[in-house]
């Protein structure tokens, strides 16, 4: 399955929030830090000589929770307190066995499919702008 963090960062916020709300009641949750915004410095490199350099920073939100005493860390780009909390919650939950596991996997698979469909659709719109070269004598 696609990387969990990728799915949770890229999926729509509303279904994620609703899904987490449906799980929360079964656990003891304590906020251990944040959510709070901070910065991530983006490292890049030139594509020929491999010269590393810093491109600039990106706004990032981080959150730390304890779920039944198990720590979970949530990180995502942007000012996204709810999403970072949801990521942190599921990060902790991953370390806890229980009946929720199947539900989490099903949710992630469902969201992965939706993300993939949306991206594939966008990609196909982009592909419509691919140049179809013809020689001058061709029609």
């Amino acid at each position: 399955m696609t990387d969990k963090d990728y799915i949770l960062c890229e999926c729509e916020l509303s279904p994620l929030e609703q899904f987490i709300a449906s799980l929360e009641k079964d656990f003891e949750i304590k906020m251990a830090g944040g959510p709070a915004v901070c910065l991530t410095m983006i490292k890049a490199e030139d594509s020929v000589e491999g010269q590393p350099f810093y491109l600039g920073e990106a706004l990032t939100t981080e959150c730390e929770v304890l779920v039944n005493g198990i720590p979970g860390l949530g990180l995502c780009m942007g000012d996204e307190p709810v999403r970072s909390y949801c990521i942190a919650f599921l990060d902790a939950l991953e370390q806890l066995d229980g009946p929720h596991t199947g539900r989490v996997d099903a949710f992630l698979q469902d969201q992965a499919r939706l993300i993939s469909e949306a991206r594939t659709l966008e990609y196909n719109h982009i592909l419509r702008t691919r140049v179809d070269f013809k020689l001058m004598e061709q029609e």
Binding site: T60, G78, R119
Partner: protein
């Protein structure tokens, strides 16, 4: 001459601040929503983020709204906002080969891996004022989107692909080589350490990435026009989204989102001093936040120009390029001219008056032309 400290203006400043808000709002129309700016002023946001040095679409939109569309001021606000935040993470090196490509063109080769994909661009349309936009309605938007969606048959979708680069073609043939001059390749961070000249290439690329687009264009253009030696070809220009990953405090590499970037690989012929030297091509590299072809291309030109051994043109001079394309510092210095310079100017005025008096005293009265003595400069 003594200095006299004066104070005042607090009320005027407060009132000016209120007045500028009044001018922004006086027509009492519906306030622009941040989401409207984010989705419909995409390219302004990209410029502001690039020059502000922080990728934050929501705050760039807010800054544009606050500053009434002035991208210089919006970038200034964003960079100041950035200074209030703690840097907690450094990303893994982003890989543009992983890009979700939205645009990919080459001016060097017709056939490139994956083909020439024009993407979202107005490059090939006439710059005619579209008066229909003046009466655009939500229904128009929905009609357009429905028509656009209908172009794709959901049953015949191609899978997403990642593409090799154009420079790979040149590399395979050994035609593309590093510039080859001995320069400092250490990784510096100009936000933590003041730049010194000659600057390492990492510092130069970082400064260029957050330089002002117009400034980069002016100097890049000067090089192409002959005030410099670089007139390259676009090897490849790419725009799209690249994943960003960081290590969390437990050491796990985590995906945190993606950023949109424009990347330009500008190919120049290396001019060897020796006639016997084998010719080859070298690259100038441009990479910036968002969709900004002009900035990435000019960054590539200037990256290459600053590595030229000839330092006799503005675009080849590191200090000239990097200090004067830094939009926020340039704007700050220019605008400081509006601040009170009363003491400096009065001092100069006294000197001018004294010189005129001395001149008048030294010249016989019959030769003085009264019209050359400016009345306003006469001592009071």
């Amino acid at each position: 001459m003594g200095y006299i400290a004066v104070k005042g203006g607090t009320d005027a400043i407060h009132n000016a601040r209120e007045l500028v808000e009044f001018y922004r709002l006086k027509k009492a129309v519906k306030p622009i929503e941040i989401e409207q700016i984010r989705s419909q002023l995409r390219l302004s946001i990209d410029k502001v983020m690039g020059e502000g040095g922080i990728y934050a679409t929501e705050y760039a939109a807010l800054a544009i709204k606050q500053m009434e569309g002035d991208v210089f001021e919006a970038a200034f606000v964003l960079r100041a906002f950035r200074a209030t935040l703690q840097r907690k993470f450094y990303s893994e090196t982003i890989n543009t080969r992983e890009m979700f490509v939205k645009r990919k063109i080459s001016a060097s080769f017709r056939e490139i891996p994956g083909g020439q994909i024009l993407g979202p661009t107005r490059d090939y349309i006439q710059r005619m004022l579209d008066t229909a936009k003046a009466i655009e309605t939500k229904e128009d938007v929905e009609t357009f989107l429905a028509g656009f969606a209908a172009h794709i048959d959901p049953a015949k979708l191609a899978d997403i692909a990642h593409f090799d680069k154009v420079i790979d073609l040149l590399k395979k043939e050994g035609l593309l080589q590093p510039v080859g001059n001995d320069e400092d390749t250490t990784l510096k961070d100009i936000t933590r350490e003041a730049i010194k000249f000659p600057a390492p290439r990492s510092a130069r690329l970082q400064m260029l990435a957050r330089a002002e687009t117009g400034g980069l264009m002016a100097l890049g253009y000067s090089s192409m026009r002959g005030f410099g030696s670089v007139h390259p070809t676009v090897g490849e220009l790419r725009y799209g989204a690249v994943p960003v990953r960081v290590k969390d405090r437990l050491g796990r590499v985590r995906y945190i989102g993606s950023i949109e970037v424009t990347e330009a690989e500008m190919i120049s012929e290396y001019k060897a001093k020796s006639k016997k030297a084998i010719p080859y091509y070298s690259i100038g590299y441009g990479l910036c936040f968002g969709q900004n072809d002009t900035k990435a291309i000019c960054m590539g030109i200037l990256d290459r120009a600053m590595r030229s051994p000839e330092g006799n043109s503005p675009s080849n001079d590191q200090e000239f390029v990097l200090y004067h394309t830094e939009g926020i510092e340039s704007m700050g210095f220019t605008n400081h001219l509006k601040l009170p310079h009363y003491v400096t100017f009065q001092s100069g005025l006294n000197n001018v008056r004294a010189a005129i008096e001395r001149n008048a005293a030294a010249v016989p009265p019959s030769t003085i032309n009264p019209s050359v003595i400016i009345p306003s400069l006469q001592p009071v």
